[in-house]
Symmetry: D2
Subunit: 258 residues, 4 copies
């Protein structure tokens, strides 16, 4: 099964690269990131205007202002866009500005939100919960699909284990497990899984080789100054090199490019 | 710090027992359960009208009808009541019928919902997420408190580990850890932690001895016929015996009774 | 089923307290600890002469010299003694000096060692492996029992999870699970589970209330100067107070004292 | 750093494939497996004569008889060989028959055994413990190296998590983490990680792409009749196809072949 957004195909034998910063911080930062993503040959632009943060006192996103910059970036680069939604009440507004709605790991079992994005009809990226089983994840997708919305893309982003060398433990096996149980596309987010910049490239390549349909990678114009997740973001040069390597590997593995 | 609901005190040296079925299934089942809870000497009545379920095709609760039965049970027994809320849009309605709002494990980091129960001013039971660290849990509580609502009760209900003999692994250490880091009351839910009826009594006693401020225990008039969680629910006789044992132990440990 | 060592009964309705330092460091430290253990009313003395340490460059124990101090302490105080064995070749020697052999968590599936302590006929404390399921633990005990040695005491000492507030997560549910599946006595080691001194007392009480047959608690004459595990050791005063509290609670719970 | 066994180089830019059955079951089974391994172009032959099993009543290996068949297979095929050692007392005998000693996951912190294989001077494959951190694993390797034996190959074989779709969770991130902290070669065992035959190929490819130095894959002449681990063993045809694919991918990734 494949999902088409503008002229980009996700799943069904094509390989997609999604890039962008964790958060939309301001107009300059986001448009700059968007240009790097485009120039690197990635296919879709990510960036969140609303950030779910562990503490209520951390940076929470620039909200509607951010949605406007996402839209402006799409207009300039032509790239389809992704933004996380935290609240069913904001789906309608978000859907006006962006192409794909993301459900974050913390909301994987926020069932009213799943039903609401289901009703929206928009393509949805459903991140795996931090300690969700694959069965629970597929059932969460079913909440969206049961509303008639089959445009669901699963995203493995690491699970919580005892190991502390990485932020989470990338469950690379989830790729073949999902392939054997479902026809939904599955992509991998190596940035949140690793939490460490230098591990992003090898994990990206592992995901391609395991058969994932795409990657979502954090890139920031200036990771050292990022308001969130800077330590796991690539800089533009690293991202461009990695995109090139990934495309060659995906091609070798028999994927078409999105 | 203690929280007072009607004439029941939670925290501050008194010990509270919360009982009731997982879900409000129908009028007869819930009123029957409520009478058993009252008769057993427990202090607060629980029951959910909205059920978050892994699959969209499982029983999801009887919704507003259930709220009315909860209210009726309070009127009859005089017990304060608890009901889970899944959706910020339902808080106002739920708050009309019940005394304490519960945030379930799956919603521990549903930040808009946390803010909304914070704004409601109602007492809140905040269950620990299934793989939440204690730091994340305290930060989730802070989302509620940052809205000016300090009536937050933490509830340890087991964490996800590799062990399969129990549904979850009760993290009994969370009791002293919370006591050392916070002044919020902490209660324990041995029913969801164990997932097995016969382990509920020993875990309940362990919680009292570890210093918890209360217990939330599932009891059903007829566990074999329960629509959810029957295998972990006590029957009325077992519940009554356990309440008696808990009160003696809590008294021995120096607690007053709520 | 109960196990008798000298005149101490483990299991079968009596409650036993085992105390002592992590390691035998020198004669003065260990004899001093032994006197405190005796004076506090505990029943069995622990101390290891051989220490399994993560790094080969950490303190590894004082070996045979330590065994002699354990024996001397037994002669002086009359307390039965426990020492860990790491190597089948040292069982015969260790068995001359001490009463109970301990298999540590790292060796729970060291099958030749299990068979060897089985053949020795000595009472054995079998600690649960750091990520062992209860089924694996019972099977490990079976390696000892299959050699004809039924004097096996299980010891829950915390399992590895994602939570970092404690060194390990005490799986208090293991107590009722073992009780339902086996007739072997089960004790709890709150010191290694918590890894933090202030949590040892509440976890000890939880273990009594959950139905454990005993406790193994670290106490050191001067925890600040301990060569290993000082942060989780009680000082003599704390230990004496805790022993007194535990005995009262065990008596309340219906245990006889060992 | 690389390790040379006969004319096979492990690490240092060459890629090695190790194949063979879980256990040496009998002469015919093992020689048959060895011929398939050779014919498929793999580089090293594995097979264990002593099996560590959860239950004392399960098949435990054919012991010395198995060592002789391993030696016979080496003589016939010319392949270097690997066999697990469980007991320091058997190292000398095992070392006469096989080229590389394996320390299994359960013995990763069996420190006397680590020191003993260190003293043997033989190349050692050190499997990661089922819940060992990477730090503990590197420290375990240091026990071997501290005896002057630097011929240590690390083997990632999956860690224990809550997920049950796979036998263990392959921690693919361990590959780049080890590469950043150590110069020891690291190989991956996808068979024990997955526990399911159909996931072995995608996980093998992921390991190559992540930068591992080799793979250890279970193959059995007749997996349905295997005495252990049959469900995760490839049949000879699957193994041959996978070896071919792996070599192409390793070549694409810039590895030389061992």
């Amino acid at each position: 099964m494949s999902i088409t957004v503008d002229d980009i195909i996700i799943g069904g034998g094509s390989f997609v690269i999604i890039g962008g910063p964790c958060a939309v911080e301001n107009r300059e930062q986001f448009l700059s990131a968007a240009r790097y993503v485009k120039e690197s040959g990635a296919n879709i632009l990510r960036g969140s205007a609303y950030k779910p943060r562990t503490s209520p006192y951390s940076f929470q996103g620039i909200e509607e202002e951010g949605l406007k910059y996402i839209y402006e970036a799409k207009m300039e680069t032509g790239l389809p866009t992704i933004c996380e939604v935290l609240d069913a009440n904001l789906i309608e507004k978000t859907a006006k500005y962006v192409d794909i709605l993301q459900i974050g790991a913390r909301n994987m079992q926020n069932f009213p939100l799943l039903r609401a994005v289901g009703k929206s009809g928009k393509p949805v990226i459903l991140k795996r919960g931090i300690a969700a089983t694959i069965d629970e994840w597929l059932n969460a997708a079913e909440y969206i699909r049961s509303e008639g919305n089959y445009n669901v893309i699963l995203c493995e982003r690491g699970i919580r284990t005892y190991e502390t060398s990485t932020r989470n433990t990338l469950d690379i096996s989830a790729v073949p497990v999902i392939k054997s149980r479902s026809d939904m596309p599955i992509i991998v987010d190596p940035s949140h899984a690793a939490g460490v910049r230098e591990y992003v490239a090898p994990l990206s390549k592992a995901a391609v080789a395991a058969g994932a349909d795409g990657l979502m990678i954090e890139v920031h114009p200036n990771p050292e100054k990022a308001l969130s997740d800077g330590h796991q973001s690539l800089n533009p040069h690293e991202f461009k090199t990695l995109c090139s390597d990934i495309k060659k590997l995906a091609n070798f593995m028999g994927f078409g490019l999105a």
